[in-house]
Symmetry: C2
Subunit: 275 residues, 2 copies
């Protein structure tokens, strides 16, 4: 089911700036047992992204109504929210009082292999790099050509995700996920101040570790060789949950206790789906 500005629909106008320029934001949410997981956090990130791009923040009640309408009768699935700056005259300049386009759609749960969570996955380092731009870093905006090119490099069905480096060679994230690793017993994750997406599950993990770990998570700028040599590594997002990474470019990485405890804590807290 698709709602466009709260009404059933399946299309947007050609002049919409989402299509014209990728001028907008999106969210991807998991639905489990009829509940949208981490809805508050997703709506809060969307509002924060709007403020950053100077797109009017959508009415929260309207968005929650949309979520409830598209998930009616859905036990398990995916919801995607797209918010664009709406229509304007031709050209990059935005309308003085933009009227955003709000698209909320539900989708079947994707067929991820169940073994990915239990046994882990293989990663490959992508050739396509992430651009560094302080103005766009962290935002889940609609300019996603780099991710499209990166994931389409992967032609080996045994490789489940691509690891992306920035144009300076630092490891940043997966094509659709954030990445964590353990080095010297300490949990680490790449710094996202120059590029990358501030993922919801990443934020939940950072919150959880503040309470439950003695040492804060290190936010690093390191090359992929550091991850290849790590004691544990995992990728995470709202749909996959937590996938242990068992190899990067064929180099094996152990499955360890930090990954497993975070995975079970997030399941128990209903932040990620049970499987």
């Amino acid at each position: 089911m698709i709602l466009v500005n709260g009404k059933p629909g399946s299309s947007v106008g050609v002049a919409d700036r989402g299509l014209q320029y990728g001028d907008g934001l999106f969210e991807t949410l998991a639905v489990n047992r009829g509940q949208v997981l981490c809805a508050d956090r997703h709506l809060s990130r969307l509002a924060s992204g709007c403020r950053s791009l100077e797109i009017p923040v959508p009415d929260e009640g309207a968005l929650r109504n949309d979520l409830s309408t598209v998930t009616k009768g859905v036990a398990r699935g995916v919801v995607k929210i797209i918010l664009t700056r709406g229509v304007s005259a031709r050209g990059y300049r935005a309308a003085a009082n933009p009227s955003p386009t709000r698209i909320v759609s539900s989708h079947p749960w994707p067929p991820f292999p169940l073994s990915n969570r239990a046994e882990g996955v293989a990663l490959r380092v992508c050739r396509t790099r992430l651009s560094i731009n302080l103005r766009l870093a962290g935002l889940k905006h609609l300019n996603r050509l780099e991710q499209v090119l990166a994931v389409n490099e992967i032609d080996d069905p045994k490789v489940s995700e691509g690891l992306m480096l920035d144009t300076d060679g630092a490891a940043v994230e997966g094509t659709m996920s954030n990445v964590f690793y353990v080095e010297g017993g300490r949990l680490m994750t790449p710094d996202l101040s120059r590029c990358g997406v501030h993922g919801i599950i990443r934020a939940e993990i950072l919150d959880w570790t503040r309470v439950h770990l003695d040492t804060p998570v290190g936010q690093t700028r390191v090359g992929p060789e550091t991850l290849l040599k790590s004691e544990e590594c995992f990728v995470c997002n709202s749909l996959i949950g937590v996938w242990p990474v068992r190899s990067i470019d064929g180099r094996e990485i152990p499955l360890g206790p930090v990954t497993q405890s975070i995975q079970s804590e997030l399941k128990a807290a209903e932040i990620i789906t049970p499987d």
Copy 2:
């Protein structure tokens, strides 16, 4: 008038990858006395962009038919072509055999002040930077948030265009134009191998100078201070033609013979509109 895949239409499906990810390319063409200017060059750049992004190249006959349909009875105007990778399943991975979406639309000629060509314009250096990415450099793709943010910084109606620097501080282009300048009597333009758009008028000027100037155009990586101190400076695109730049951030630049001769040569060759 709008054609979507050759048929009158005004919308695209929400699942189109142009909207979802900015996964596509575009062209903006001028129509003068019923003729589309530089049509061959635009279609050739579009095809080249498709090959670079691995989007199937659209049938040239179909595109030319669309151009002729949307410009029927149009003496003067603008045509925009958008080509997206079409629809796929949810997620960044492209369909195995993508069926691109082709959108061709005509628009009224924009109300640029006539004085811009004769007397020149004021530029301002934008705070929003252009990301460096060798994989995307030169392409006229649909990921245009940087240009949107840059042009929306400009709130002074006396400033007609923004000059964009890359994240390393080099001057690259305008928000909607390419830039040339004269230094020590030699015509120069920023190198676009790391970011920026290979503009059609820029390419026409480079071709023209190969025949008519003794010294080839220098392709440079310099900071904005070099342009501020230049002997002449101009910006160009398919619609504006050639606008002399008379000031950048308030610092005055002379209007000189190189700019004026290029402007009149391009008009005479019907590469740009007469006014």
